[in-house]
């Protein structure tokens, strides 16, 4: 990724901030302005969440970084740390209804906690810096911060302690567990586990589809004129299978690898097309019909499997080692399937054209 990106979209790990000795700065620093927030989620917040889910103005769902006051906190009130992505911040503040506290919002460039931690923007440096900038040491008497558990890939708790004097406490994964967590200051094993339930998979589907909607529409228009409505519909179907059906059915499709799951799902959605094209073109020979059906059974699963493989980054459990192994194992298979299917279709087209002439 090139580093010439606009400031608002910096994200690569190479852009981690330099380490600066800030231990002295964090003590006795004047308190900067404390912003005020509430636990209420308004209609305009909901609209913002909806647009974020559809990928509209993707990097624009931003909260101003800084220290926020929720309710009427005292110097003994707890301090929670969050990202400046509206969905993250809103999840925390709405979960803390009725709790007087401070929320320290880091500048994660409008990216959620987990992804920002992976990139290093929700990181030790930014946290230590933000503690200093906001003058948090002068606001609260204690020296404890409650961080979301999923910020841990970016935060080194012992480094934060060494550089700022604040002890990091990792709270639960989900903001909704915060009230329960606050009672005992202990997270249960359930609170510590990341799941990927249907609801979480469903909310990802709109943006997955929107992402490749334009190329899909263009491709299906071209296919419509080259090969007819059935081919155009097949393209749309394969894409929908890969971007919508696949996330929904993820745990229920056999095998473990995303690519093989994608091929299986792709074959299932291709079968109706194969059967339909085989049984409707009565003017063509058996072999031509069979080849056309085969082309559907080769191209559609390849496309669905490729999209399925690309869903790995959206899930909560794939390791880089595993994904890399999948890429090396299956992309040649997908390329072979798609390639042979396309060659077959072209040959069929040539035969049809010659008969026409």
């Amino acid at each position: 990724m090139d580093n010439k990106k606009t400031a608002g979209s910096s994200c690569s790990c190479t852009q981690r901030l330099e380490i600066k000795p800030l231990n002295r700065l964090t003590e006795n620093i004047p308190v900067s302005e404390i912003l005020t927030t509430t636990s209420t989620i308004t209609y305009s917040n909901r609209l913002d969440h909806f647009l974020a889910r559809w990928g509209v103005n993707r990097m624009g769902h931003i909260v101003k970084p800084g220290l926020y006051r929720l309710g009427n906190p005292t110097p003994d009130s707890p301090v929670f740390v969050s990202a400046n992505y509206t969905l993250s911040f809103d999840a925390v503040r709405s979960a803390l209804t009725g709790i007087d506290c401070y929320i320290l919002v880091l500048d994660t460039k409008g990216v959620n906690v987990w992804c920002a931690a992976g990139k290093g923007t929700f990181g030790t440096d930014e946290l230590v810096r933000r503690i200093a900038y906001t003058g948090l040491s002068g606001v609260v008497k204690h020296r404890t911060l409650i961080l979301p558990q999923l910020s841990a890939p970016g935060i080194s708790a012992y480094e934060v302690k060494r550089r700022s004097g604040f002890t990091v406490e990792y709270g639960p994964v989900r903001a909704s567990d915060l009230p329960e967590y606050l009672k005992t200051r202990k997270a249960t094993p359930e609170m510590r586990r990341v799941q990927f339930p249907l609801k979480d998979r469903l909310v990802l589907t709109p943006v997955e589809f929107v992402h490749i909607a334009l190329p899909t529409i263009i491709a299906s228009i071209i296919l419509y004129f080259l090969a007819g409505p059935l081919a155009a519909l097949a393209a749309v179907t394969a894409v929908l299978a890969g971007t919508v059906l696949f996330p929904v059915l993820l745990p229920f499709i056999p095998t473990h690898d995303f690519s093989t799951k994608g091929i299986i799902l792709g074959e299932i959605v291709a079968i109706p097309f194969a059967v339909f094209s085989f049984t409707t073109n009565l003017t063509l020979s058996f072999w031509e019909n069979a080849s056309m059906s085969l082309a559907f059974l080769l191209i559609m699963p390849a496309l669905t499997a490729y999209l399925a493989l690309n869903f790995t980054g959206c899930t909560t459990f794939t390791s880089r080692t595993g994904v890399k192994k999948e890429i090396f194992r299956y992309t040649p298979v997908m390329a072979f399937m798609a390639g042979s299917g396309i060659i077959l279709s072209i040959l069929l087209g040539i035969i049809a054209l010659m008969r026409w002439i």
Partner: protein, 112 residues
């Protein structure tokens, strides 16, 4: 068969462990569990290489090559002739970069 996720880069050196249990706290997949003398590595294949445990281990008893398991980013890097391991998830980049929605990665509306 058809499981590419059995091996990963996680390494644990129990002899160095000081039993602070931070890793059991930060791991989102229960890879580590509390033990008697030291923490136990109980589910190594569940590791997603997020790197949280290694970064929060005060005595470097855990090593892992952390990175994001995102095919989109890796294929993109490979196509641009870059190292697949450059570790640069495109999320948060311009529209159309990795993980489509993944300013969402894990539907973080529910998460903190």
């Amino acid at each position: 068969m058809f499981n590419s996720y059995l091996e990963n880069t996680l390494k644990y050196y129990p002899d160095r462990c000081v039993n602070c249990k931070r890793c059991t706290e930060v791991c989102p997949h229960g890879v580590f569990a509390e033990g008697e003398e030291h923490v136990e590595l109980v589910q190594p294949s569940a590791c997603m290489e997020c790197g949280a445990c290694a970064l929060n281990c005060p005595v470097q008893a855990i090593e892992v090559k952390s990175g994001v398991g995102c095919a989109w980013a890796m294929i993109g890097a490979a196509l641009r002739g870059k190292d697949m391991d450059s570790g640069e998830c495109g999320c948060g980049g311009e529209a159309g970069s990795c993980c489509g929605g993944n300013a969402e990665k894990t539907s973080c509306s529910e998460k903190q």
